[in-house]
């Protein structure tokens, strides 16, 4: 029997040019309403002229292994389906915003139709054997979805010789976005 999947995303900040194609592709794919987004891009600038560094980061839900949104959801709408992702059952969601308050990454918003919404790693596409819309569109191939349980060496190949950053690991959330700097 094969092991369950454990999806994670590796994001190469050296490839990323912060163009935001991922944001638009996600919005089109997931019909994200105007004024909201499930993923976003930040440019972090450090230093002062002319000694500067710049990091381009495409960000989204971290699909935490130990997810505060799941722990704090009173209705069980936020859940782990067992493939490493965190998903939302819209029928169970009451829009109470407990998950928004619990999420340390500010990855969620309340959809105008009344439920919490966020990046799903395009679960509907994964089921069809497709990559998430952001991964597919990215002109710089900065985004890679990996299965940490696959034992295919993909994660190791991508991260070899690179500094790997994760966000707010000290919170114990075990986040699954890995940024290569």
């Amino acid at each position: 029997m094969s092991r369950p999947r454990k999806y994670a995303m590796v994001i190469d900040t050296r490839r990323c040019v912060a163009c935001s194609a991922c944001v638009y592709a996600c919005k089109a794919e997931n019909e994200v309403p105007e004024g909201y987004c499930r993923d976003w891009v930040v440019q972090l600038v450090e230093g002062s002229f002319p000694d500067l560094t710049l990091t381009n980061r495409s960000e989204r839900c971290q699909h935490c292994e130990s997810a505060p949104c799941v722990a704090n959801c009173p209705t069980g709408a936020s859940y782990h389906p067992g493939d490493g992702t965190v998903q939302i059952d819209r029928d169970l969601c009451t829009g109470c915003k407990a998950c928004l308050a619990a999420c340390p990454y500010d990855a969620r918003y309340i959809h105008p139709e009344g439920y919490a919404d966020k990046c799903s790693f395009c679960q509907h596409r994964l089921k069809e054997g497709l990559q998430p819309a952001c991964v597919t569109v990215c002109p710089t191939q900065a985004l890679t979805l990996v299965d940490l349980n696959a034992n295919d060496g993909a994660f190791e190949r991508l991260t070899a010789g690179r500094e790997v950053q994760r966000d707010k690991v000290h919170l114990g959330t075990d986040p699954k976005l890995f940024w290569l700097t």
Binding site: R14, V17, C19, F49
Partner: protein, 722 residues
Amino acid sequence: MKRRQFLKISSALFASAAAPGLSWENSPVLAAPEERVVPSICELCFWRCGIQAQVKEGRVAQITGHPKHPLSNGKLCPRGVGGTGLLYDPDRLRQPLIREEVDGKQQFRPATWDEALDLIAERLGYLTAFYGTESVAMFNHGFGASFFKTLFKAYGIHTFSAPSYAQCRGPRQEAFKLTYGHGLGSPEALDVAHSKCLVLLGTHLGENMHNTAVQDFTEAVARGCHLIVVDPRFSTAAGKAREWLPIKPGTDLALLLSWIRTLIEEELYDRDFVEVNTVGLEEVRAAVAHATPEWAAAQTGIRAERILATARDLGRYRNEALVHPGRRVVWYGDDTQRERAIAILNALLGNYRHPGGLLRFSGFSVPSVKFPEEKNAFASFSSRFPLASAPPANELVEQTVSGDPYPIKAWFVYGTNLIHALGDQARTLQAIEALDLLVAIDVLPMEITGYADVVLPECTYLERYDDLDTRSYRTPYVALRQPVVKPMYDSLPGHEIARRLAGKLGMPDLFPDDMEAYLDGRLQQVGLSLQQLQVEGVVSQPEPEDLYRQPAEPLRFRTPSGKIELASAQLAQAGFDAVPRYTPPPAAPPGYFRLLHGRAPMHTFGRTANNRMLGELMPENELWVNAVTGKDVGLKSGEYVYLVNQDGVRSRTPIKVRLTERIRPEAVYMAHGFGHTDPRLKFAAGKGASDADLITHLSLDPIMGGTGMNNNFVTFTRSAES
């Protein structure tokens, strides 16, 4: 009152009408089920990526990159994804408009296509009878202009001007032709992906978001390319560089000459290649003798050691190094010579048709269909700039104003908003005043359409066929633009507008009645069919085996000497420097900052500013001001200011200040394409500011007429009063 009052049309005037019957109404693609995926070509910019448009319930729901198209490789930039924002823009032009005067007041009257085209044909008939066909000029930008060019050539009109020449790539084109005998084309024939040492001068790939250009760039970065970025601004590309040289604006040529000097003096250049394939080395050596690193340091503000070290980096990588020639290169008026210096540097590196260097692309050969004989023009346009190979748009503006050497009385403007594209707006408006006929063909009510006598609404790229795309590329290809959905409103495809106008001009047989039969006929010549392209979107050939040259391959260049001309006899003959010579740029008046502009990844010039989808992430541009200088003059991030330039001209709209460490103190920067003022652009109007408002001074390139735009200076005011 001005004869040609700027007209703003209330959309209440428009009633939507069904598209008229067209020959391709039976298109198998359009007859396909309500849910379908249609391959085509993007037109949000001019790179022409392959796309796949997903149609759901009769509407284009989503656009993705075509996996097999060599210019997209399945990927798209934000603009390409946002194509639906253009298709479903509620502010689109919906029907032909005719300017008329009622009770002394000018207004636009919605008209039928027959009325509009009859009027154009009649006025064109008078004008050409009286002034000759040379009194008509066409300004065009975009793939769809080809049918109008065919039509006008057949009618004897030969003056076609694209702002992509004198306002953009022209100096590069001429410099490389002078040096190598051929230009670089678009997409540029460069092997960026395999470059081991890449120099970008002002070119901000990643913000300038041509899909495969950025794909190649990030591939090079990912492979560990030694990236050197020369830019007064810490661009996204500079953020990835091994070396960022924050150069004083306008001094790039001094740096380039010093690099040339070091390569020659330290014998770091490719001696074998240069000896066999070039002429003029000694002339160059003598001309750059003064350009020591210390001299260049004094000009550029970059330390001499860094200038020397980066020259040695270039020499170390030699054949595998590439000095990128850039794309929009009209900066200071010395642009052809700066591009010449870049051409010389690349020649010294010997990277011609070498992995990581300059390449030569070929096209997929699909013979054109012969159109009837062209009538001879009475006189065709001859530029006063000796080496201009196309009419500079600004020169046509000047001639329209002066009437010298002959009058220009009519403009056809296809897909280019001259008000924002040319700089020196006052002069453009003066020229428009002198016209007897201005026809604007556009999708949106861009500012230029407000000055037109007749406005012809073209449908978007998602609603039409255009001619086949067979441009040169690394892997030659033929690609099809085809309608994904039927034209909305009373808009028409360009080919249909041209065909109907041809009929009105007495050439009913110029174009085939059936666009599909025409395209199929072209494709059948090379064993392909329209049906195949409708399904596949693109057919590519493999990379030619001789893309890279063999070590001792004899090369012949289409220059007078047959070799790469390091020193240019052609330039000398025309009275210019055979080897580029540096002149410092004019300094800013006290209290003023040099105004620089560039690109943002989610917008194409002003063409996308009204796109509500793309505008969600970037509804307006910001003015980048150095954080320290900005504080010194009392600016705060987030506040809105008006800009006033050296000639006292104010920006029509205010712009949001962004204090940042990412720019030199003496310059300010904004993305081009904002500050629209036409209220018919309901989303874009009043958002951000237009650099074009402030570019009142054009530094003309004496060689080819390019319009250097970066010698304009601005200061700030919070007052809305002028």
